[in-house]
């Protein structure tokens, strides 16, 4: 106990007398608090919604206006056909497509029953869920108002679809994000470890008196480590792209993962000073998204039969979904 206590005391002195560790202990929490608490949010605000309005009548315009005027949505696009819908998801222009069928107002007026279809981009399952719920609430609100105004039992049936990831499996979404985070953290950590080792060996002095600039030392260390990390991640992601690659469109999922990269960069790179990580991870994601198809094919060559069968089943599921739509 005595030994333990004297050691604790020594550590206290170390920290209290070292200005840099004090700065980390006091300054860093403040910064993290600001970043995590305020800058980072998963609120759904001003999500882009595209509207495919076959009706072009009073009710459909009314619904569109309500979506637009709520603070959760911004109408980013008016579509003209089903093909546009796929495009707007794939190009990341909309998180939600609302489809108003022809004769919406007529149906409401005559049979007091109409249908509206909401299609969410489930490559980010949680957000898609939230968005669909908000949109549903807005439409039901309109229905309630109609009922109240006319005192007649109007019903608007809302049919929802989740595209790209109908089972809402979060791993599609998490894996790329976590991968980047690991890549960043390990890359930065290993770089610092290797600098410490350099110091321990006494080779750091040699590097310092050489014409090589210290920044270059750090940079070249990170390059090597990130390079190794990238190779390790490619197998993971190849699997991921393969699975996602079976969906009718693969870009949205990757668009999401790219967005994740950006998030993590704000947090992690802000702290660790590795701008390089940003470049590496981004170019990596670019590489993957550009070669998604090639990777998927490659992966298909050696993926086990069973896994393939399972993926195939998923694909059939997408196809039936698509046909229903």
């Amino acid at each position: 106990m005595k030994i333990f206590w004297s050691f604790i005391k020594k550590e206290f002195w170390h920290v209290l007398r070292d200005r840099r560790s004090m700065l980390i202990l006091i300054g860093l929490p403040v910064m993290m608090m600001l970043l995590f608490g305020f800058a980072l949010s998963n609120e759904v605000k001003n999500s882009n919604v595209a509207i495919l309005d076959y009706a072009q009548d009073e009710s459909s315009r009314h619904l569109a206006n309500r979506l637009e005027s709520s603070r959760y949505f911004t109408v980013s696009d008016y579509l003209h056909s089903e093909r546009d819908r796929a495009n707007s998801f794939e190009q990341g222009k909309a998180r939600l497509v609302a489809i108003f069928p022809a004769r919406l107002a007529d149906d409401l007026a005559h049979s007091r029953n109409a249908q509206v279809r909401l299609i969410g981009d489930a490559s980010d399952p949680n957000t898609a869920n939230i968005i669909i719920n908000y949109a549903t609430a807005i439409i039901l609100d309109y229905q309630a108002e109609l009922v109240k105004r006319q005192n007649l039992p109007y019903t608007i049936n809302i049919e929802t679809r989740m595209l790209y990831n109908p089972q809402l499996q979060s791993s599609f979404n998490f894996v790329p994000g976590v991968m980047t985070l690991i890549l960043m953290l390990l890359g930065a950590m290993m770089t610092s470890v290797s600098i410490v080792r350099e110091k321990e060996n006494g080779t750091m002095e040699i590097l310092l008196v050489s014409p090589m600039r210290p920044l270059l030392v750090v940079l070249s260390k990170s390059c090597a480590l990130y390079g190794i990390m990238l190779c390790r991640c490619i197998d993971y992601s190849a699997d991921g792209t393969y699975r996602i690659g079976h969906a009718p469109a693969r870009q949205p999922a990757l668009a999401v993962s790219r967005k994740h990269v950006v998030y993590h960069h704000y947090i992690v790179v802000g702290f660790a000073h590795f701008v390089l990580g940003f470049v590496a991870a981004n170019s990596y994601v670019h590489l993957i998204s550009r070669n998604a198809h090639a990777l998927a094919c490659f992966q298909r060559l050696y993926v086990s039969h069973r896994k393939y069968a399972q993926n195939h089943a998923d694909y059939e599921q997408y196809r039936t979904d698509k046909m229903v739509l």
Partner: protein, 248 residues
């Protein structure tokens, strides 16, 4: 030797850390091909002076030129012109001999072809052709030191700084090392060496002894012995360092 150019010139070189004067107005010259011993007790300011001359630290006042470049403004050019070897064997233990040599060639900007030629040449000269692809960690200390010294010379510097190069090394290896130093000095490269071994000070062309940040004595070993009426450098050093106020 007097007509040879100066490789190091300092004039009233001073470095302060706050109130503490680590290096107090030192002036000396080192000529091309000279073995210059830089002696002093711990804390006398040797390391600080050496760091200034290597371009790692800028002086507070005074003048210094190394290989013709000014330490204030041209430290990057200085780094290209100097070699450095420290007490810890500045080699990577998990790299092979050849990889180490090529790496150091690389950071001094030698081209790939030059790196290859020089490493082959060096390996044959040191008689290490059988060990070239072995990890440095598996070699005996004496060999590592030779390789380390040779890599410091790879880019043909004008001057080599040796920071206590023989600390923790057996007498035979020290003897061999001394021969290497002589050989290098004969080829016109200046050697700037710090050491705690006074027998090593004996073979320097000139020796400076630092006490409390200033140079207390600077001359050839023979003349220093005469001046202090001593029969060895050891007693010269003791006479000077005994009065030091700073002692770590």
């Amino acid at each position: 030797m007097t007509d040879l150019p100066n490789v190091i010139e300092t004039e009233a070189l001073t470095r302060r850390f706050g109130d503490f004067v680590a290096v107090n107005s030192i002036s000396f010259q080192v000529k091309a091909g000279e073995i210059f011993g830089f002696l002093g007790a711990n804390g006398a300011g040797k390391t600080t002076a050496m760091r200034i001359l290597c371009g790692l630290l800028s002086p507070t006042s005074g003048k210094a030129r190394v290989a013709g470049y000014d330490v204030y403004t041209e430290s990057e050019s200085i780094k290209q012109q100097i070699g450095y070897m420290s007490q810890k064997f500045s080699l990577y233990e998990n790299l092979t001999v050849r990889e180490n040599i090529r790496f150091f060639g690389g950071i001094y900007g030698l081209s790939a072809a030059e790196q290859k030629r020089k490493s082959d040449e060096l390996i044959t000269r040191l008689g290490l052709s059988h060990e070239a692809n072995k990890l440095v960690g598996s070699l005996p200390i004496g060999w590592r030191q030779k390789i380390s010294f040779s890599t410091a010379l790879l880019h043909q510097p004008k001057i080599v700084f040796l920071d206590e190069p023989t600390g923790g090394v057996d007498p035979i290896t020290r003897r061999q090392f001394r021969d290497m130093i002589y050989e290098t000095a004969h080829s016109g490269i200046s050697i700037f060496v710090t050491t705690h071994y006074m027998d090593e000070a004996e073979y320097c062309d000139r020796v400076s002894i630092m006490v409390d940040g200033a140079i207390a004595a600077l001359d050839t070993p023979d003349r220093l012995k005469q001046q202090f009426v001593a029969n060895s450098m050891d007693s010269v050093f003791l006479q000077l360092a005994r009065h030091a106020r700073r002692n770590e």
